[in-house]
């Protein structure tokens, strides 16, 4: 072998050495992205289409080489606070008033034998399009920990795992060829904080929370829609800003400023361009808006459908107000019709547009609520946290509709058959998206970690939802 070849080989092997070295031995993109980030790409949200793209990153090929599954997008409806399972998707009319309270009726759905709570007539007409998991369980009764469990599928105390939205953003977002200006992971409208977010994947995979209220006359999406500044003013101010960029003028072609210019163009494309118009719900017909209900939740569902149409891979609707220790039944009488209208409209509309087959919709909270009504003072008819058994609605994206998975006992207090843990649901959704169970996550200590926990991890699982695929 000639000397130049040897040198080449040596240089090559050193490069390989560099690539595989450290940051906990993780040759994956967070560290790499951070390393580049002096002026580069470790971006949050929308930087990637124009800057260093991980798709071109030799360290990230495994993420790009994903299978494609039937699902392209996910809409997660998060009933924040913990909705009562027996008042919604797992009614127990035979358990008696001690359990049912005033809500002692049920509704027959369009799937024979599949009954749901009496306040969900809209959903009763769409039951062939979704399935119900009635045997969800994890056993934790604390909001934060349970939210973490349900959104990450993990139990780890030591590491902060990413929620499913961040994982999908990691595998289906800018690193995997997504090029939309709208960030790949959107939260309507308020974020929950880190228990549902990026975890060790880092800030690049955090969601973009819209803020604002889609049910108000103008949906003031944070940073994008500013009702008090006219388009004309925006343009004038932009001109002023550009004219005053004296340092930029002194640094023509500087790479740091190139990133700034690109980022700014993307930002203005959202503020002034067509991309931002996506959030203008007045472009929808009145009848369509009415169909979803003119509530924050209903219009969030409509907004989610618009985002799905644009190919956004993951949308979370954080729907507050389900933590009903007191006045449970009054609140259910108010909220369940709202949920029913929005969710039924969403499923029906997606289906009508041919989008349901490529869109997973899942709806659950961090836990259920105590099936036995707390009648004593000070609760006077409330329900408490219940992590032992709860329900999850799952539709679209290749999952079968009209099925019921698992069951609770006669009072809804125990899982009677086919326990389903959070990791089962999340892992099954990943599967529909074409993210295989053994796809690797970049664990900060270099511990081999897969999107679906291995047996060795000790995370309880009941098995992926093969019965729905």
């Amino acid at each position: 072998m000639s000397t130049p070849d040897l040198n080449l080989a040596r240089r090559h092997s050193r490069d390989v050495g560099r690539i595989t070295q450290s940051f906990g031995g993780v040759p994956l993109s967070r560290r790499e992205a951070l390393r580049k980030s002096v002026y580069g790409s470790a971006g949050l949200l929308l930087t990637e289409p124009f800057s260093v793209r991980a798709a071109q990153d030799p360290l990230a090929p495994q993420k790009v080489a994903m299978n494609s599954g039937p699902a392209k997008s996910v809409i997660q409806i998060w009933l924040w606070g913990g909705p009562c399972h027996i008042d919604t998707f797992d009614p127990k009319p035979e358990a008696g008033r001690e359990y049912t309270g005033a809500l002692d009726g049920t509704l027959e759905t369009n799937v024979s034998g599949m009954r749901i709570g009496q306040l969900l007539p809209g959903l009763a007409k769409e039951a062939d399009k979704y399935s119900l998991i009635r045997s969800m369980t994890h056993g934790n009764n604390g909001h934060e920990t349970a939210a973490y469990l349900v959104q990450t599928g993990r139990t780890s105390e030591r590491d902060v795992f990413p929620g499913s939205g961040a994982v999908v953003s990691y595998f289906k977002g800018y690193d995997a060829g997504y090029e939309g200006l709208i960030p790949p992971y959107i939260v309507l409208t308020e974020p929950q904080g880190r228990f549902s977010e990026a975890g060790f994947l880092g800030p690049r995979y955090k969601p973009f929370a819209t803020g604002g209220n889609p049910a108000s006359p103008v949906f003031a999406v944070e940073g994008i829609v500013t009702p008090d500044i006219s388009e004309e003013q925006q343009k004038e101010r932009r001109t002023l800003m550009q004219q005053l960029n004296t340092l930029g003028g002194a640094l023509p072609g500087h790479s740091a400023l190139k990133t700034v210019v690109d980022s700014e163009e993307q930002a203005y494309e959202l503020i002034l361009g067509d991309a931002g118009k996506l959030f203008d719900l007045s472009q929808e017909k009145d009848e369509m808006r009415d169909r979803y209900g003119r509530t924050t939740f209903g219009q969030s569902c409509l907004m989610a459908r618009r985002l799905v149409e644009k190919g956004v891979p993951y949308i979370t609707i954080n729907y507050k107000g389900w933590d009903t220790h007191k006045q449970h039944f009054q609140i259910m009488n108010r909220k369940l019709p709202e949920l029913d209208q929005g969710l039924a409209a969403l499923i029906g509309d997606l289906s009508g547009r041919g989008l349901l087959d490529s869109t997973v919709v899942w709806c659950t909270g961090e836990f259920g609520r105590t099936p036995k009504v707390a009648t004593e003072s000070p609760w006077n008819g409330g329900r408490h946290h219940f992590g032992k058994a709860f329900s999850c609605l799952l539709a679209g994206g290749g999952f079968q509709g009209g099925q019921v998975v698992g069951a609770t006992n006669s009072t809804g207090e125990e899982v009677a058959e086919r326990p389903v843990y959070p990791a089962d649901v999340i892992g099954s959704i990943y599967g529909q998206l074409g993210i295989p169970a053994d796809a690797s996550l970049p664990h900060p200590q270099g511990t081999p970690t897969h999107v679906v926990p291995d047996e060795a991890e000790g995370v309880p699982m009941g098995g992926l939802l093969k019965e729905l695929v």
Binding site: G17, R31, L34, L46, G223, L240, L244, G248, S263
Partner: protein
Amino acid sequence: MKVLATLILGLVLLVSPGSAAPSLYEAGPMTVSDGEAADASERIDQLVLSKLTEVGLKPAPVCSDEVFLRRVYLVTIGTLPREDEVRDFLATEDEVKRTLVVEHLLDRPEFADYWSMKWGDLLRIKAEFPIKLWPNAVQAYHHWVHDGIRTNKPYHEFAREILIGSGSNFRQGEVNFYRAMQDRTPRGIASTVALTLMGERTKNWPERKLEAMAGFFSHVAYKSTSEWKEEIVYFDPTADQEKLYERAIFPDGSPVELEPSQRDPRAVFADWLIRPENPYFSKAISNRIWSWLMGRGIVEEPDDMGPHNPPSNPELLAFLETEFNDSRCDVKHLFRIILNSQTFQLSSIPIQNSEEAAAHFAHYPLRRMEAEVLIDALNEITGTKEDYSSPIPEPFTFVPDDIRGIALADGSITSSFLELFGRPPRDTGFESERARNVTAAQRLHLLNSSHIRKKIKVCPLVTWGAGVCLEEQPEMIEKIYLHLLSRYPTEDERLVTAEYFERTGASSRDLAADLVWALMNQPEFYFIH
């Protein structure tokens, strides 16, 4: 309207200070004496310049006073100079005024806040997941660090106290070093010590080297007390079941006989580490300090040292190491000689915009302000405050609303702004955890978020600007420039602003608000340059 603009321009010229500088950003060429009597800063310049010459590169010119003042404030204390400080500095004719500013800054209280923040990143000062120090321990740890920086504790003492600490996490702040790591096994501790104090990543080491170092940390033990979340870190002579200590060797290969029954092996390690001839210790911190001030290490990244990653200028690194040792590990001495060098004071406008020029410090790099520094600057300018909170609801941690971002002790206490602008999670202690890039989401935030709009609305420059008459407008523009960009506006900038006023028919208030907004969104504002 034309008349008005002309009138404004006319006034502009009257209030403009005489500018002797050849340009807004640059003062003149780098001048390096080759004399023997060079002081340490000149020696740095000689070493940088000779390297540049060797590789066929030219240094950028030395920066202007305006650029210097802003840069040295942001780099040394993470704080913008006030309007009066800018005016005074630019007006002073004193030849050594740059040196005087450096001295002033090294004594400012913000110095300790800012550098405690930096050390907080490296030492992982954080109450919650996954470091889980607990809020009381965070306060003790941060206090210990802050105190050491405030009193300029010699760095070898700082390191030694960290290494040999024993006691309660609530009372002996430094013992939290041994708690602030995800892996508390002897190997995990050794790995953290190597990263923190030796600037090396043990993933680059042969396994036996890590194991040999682990032997020094195989007697660290932890126990709880009856106090809620109190934990005692202590030396337990019986702890080493694996008998790792029998195989202990110093990382440089020199042998050692440990007798845990006689002496805590951590102390043996500390004695070895902090000696001036130690091949890791002073080199690592000198390189770190250089990278903090210069935006890039002589070995880059500064916590990835080792034979696989040679320094770009070994003579320069060796010189800094010697200076550091000779000053008995005086951190401020190293700051002083670097900040006073022309190398630190080079313009950010490169002659050659190449990776090589950057690696050899031919110009000063552009870096976006850190998240905390940026929010502090925005708050200071707009007279507003920030809500910081921990995402963990209990126990509630009270944070006074006038606390500055750089003074936050706990990495778990945060805001969405800090997250957006790349504050590190403090999970690993790597310098690269802190993101300093610019993203579209950040641009969107500064350009158009309600957070920033609300700040500008109540900004004193704007409320005051609302009441100024036409004749006072040039003064208003000047004031806004001094506050935001730490310099006077150029004639072009005054002209552009006057034209904007004329074109849009903005009220005086709107003009002030729009100008504050436009300057806040300049790279010249959010980059350290």
